[in-house]
Amino acid sequence: MDELIYNLKKEIISRLNLEGMTPEEFDENTPLFGPDFGLDSIDSLELIVMLEKNYGIKIEDPKVGRQAFQTVTTMAEFIREQQASKTA
């Protein structure tokens, strides 16, 4: 598994208190805000702060966050884009 994706899964599980879940059984393509996972707008705000703390990425508009956090895969892509544009 991609290291960034693995780390993100671990961080999401701990940040959102997803008790009993492991990174292995966490499918990176399952919609986080869909019926299977059931996250809501507050979780999205928690993830925004997580990105700022762990990756130095600041999101000012919650809508941008919601867009980026569709799945763990889209989250990883968003982080890579942001980091690339920073170094560019």
């Binding site: 809501d40 707008s41 507050i42 705000l45 702060v49």
Partner: protein, 402 residues
């Protein structure tokens, strides 16, 4: 229920004035109190505008007539100032001559003081004046400060349902009168700006960094404010006995719950619809009899759409004039219900409708828009006031001309 409930007095202090008359003047002249935060240190003072009462705690102590540093929190001080005006305006000199209650409300009570002394307070080796503020975190503390100063004894209570708190205080007061438990009740709420609430709302990302634009397509959230307001509720018997002239009658009220989300309103406005329709039904009037709605109108994406949809659904082709007056005062949280009750009363008394400041762009999802300009010399018989809060709390009050 046969007994009527009348309102005989008002008292209010917010960023736009220290009493009812100053508020009427500010409302008529479109004078907003939103501006830079100056009276306590926070990293947000340059970036987040607020509706701050530009009086220091020392100045408030002097107006309230109490000693500085003697344990009166800012929340208690402004509550005292508003309560004193309310009692005077209702011509109540001797609280003990009738069964009189006090029901206040707050979201964070004395948090403004507590957040500065928390570390010292928990150190058992430290003593000093700050210990006067040791027991100020709970909601009831400020109510007892007011009660003890004015001598309220027959009934003291505090409601705390987030941003609908003061409206629920008014409902309890009305019920206690209707059930013959009290003759009159002073009801309202008080909340001041604190790091706690400022950072709390900021963490929810619903604070507008500009002046707020409720019901606008480009709205970006709320501006917080601070304030206290009380109304005096009295029974029919009190009105008759003392030959009083009531300001308005409280003809309807209702409380319902969204049962949807801790902080968000249901997107279709079901909870708001329920509370508005039940309040109007209680008054025994048709929805089309409502002349004006003082909306909750916080300027958040979620509230304004949900509230507007509920208004559209309830009133259909008879949508009354509506506006949010929060761009004047900012959102005074627990006090909002009583602050806006005072505005609703002023509207009926003066036959005037207050505009929704800063509205520019029509929301695409709805076909209705708020009142943009001040309207004077209009007959205002029934005003509905909405206050909604965290926990899915929805409360509506209906005030009617006597």
């Amino acid at each position: 229920m046969s007994r009527k409930v009348f309102i005989t007095g008002t008292g209010i202090i917010t960023s736009i004035g220290k009493n009812t008359n100053e508020h009427l003047d500010a409302l008529l002249h479109k004078r907003s109190g939103i501006g830079k935060l100056e009276l306590f240190p926070t990293i947000h003072s340059e970036t987040i505008p607020v509706g701050e009462i530009k009086l220091t705690d020392e100045e408030l102590c002097s107006i309230a007539g109490v000693q500085p540093n003697s344990g009166f929190t800012r929340t208690a001080l402004i509550a005292i100032i508003a309560c004193r005006e309310a009692l005077a305006s209702a011509n109540i000199e001797n609280i003990k001559e009738a069964r009189t209650g006090l029901i206040s409300s707050t979201t964070v009570g004395g948090m403004r003081e507590f957040e500065n002394i928390l570390t010292d307070l928990t150190d058992l080796s430290k003593d000093g004046n700050f210990r006067n503020y040791a027991h100020v975190t709970d909601a009831g503390e400020h109510t007892e400060r007011v009660a003890d100063l004015f001598g309220f004894k027959d009934y003291v209570s505090t409601t705390s349902t987030a941003c609908s708190s003061a409206s629920n205080a008014i409902i309890l007061g009305a019920e206690l009168i209707k059930h013959g438990i009290l003759d009159r009740v002073v009801c309202g709420g008080s909340d001041v700006l604190s790091k706690f609430t400022l950072n709390g709302f900021n963490s929810l990302m619903i604070l507008d960094k500009r002046t707020m634009h409720p019901f606008d397509a480009q709205r970006g959230g709320v501006n917080l404010g601070e304030g206290a307001a009380f109304v005096v509720l009295e029974s029919e018997e009190m009105i008759a006995k003392y030959n009083k002239k009531p300001l308005v009658e409280l003809t309807g009220y209702s409380n319902s719950n969204d049962a949807f989300h801790q902080t968000a309103s249901s997107p279709d406005g079901d909870g708001a619809l329920l509370s508005m329709s039940r309040a109007i039904a209680m008054a025994g009037v048709e929805p089309k009899a409502v002349d004006y709605i003082n909306c909750h109108g916080t300027g958040t994406e979620n509230n304004d759409l949900s509230e507007a949809l509920a208004i559209q659904k309830l009133f259909q082709e008879h949508v009354p004039y509506f506006s949010s007056t929060k761009p004047y005062t900012g959102h005074t949280l627990a006090a909002a219900g009583s602050v806006e009750a005072v505005f609703s009363i002023l509207s009926i008394q003066n036959n005037v409708l207050f505009p929704n400041l800063n509205f520019e762009n029509q929301m695409p999802e709805i076909s209705i828009s708020p009142l943009k300009e001040l309207m004077q010399n209009v007959e205002v018989k029934h005003v509905l006031s909405n206050s909604f809060g965290f926990g899915g709390s929805n409360t509506s009050l209906l005030f009617s001309k006597v």
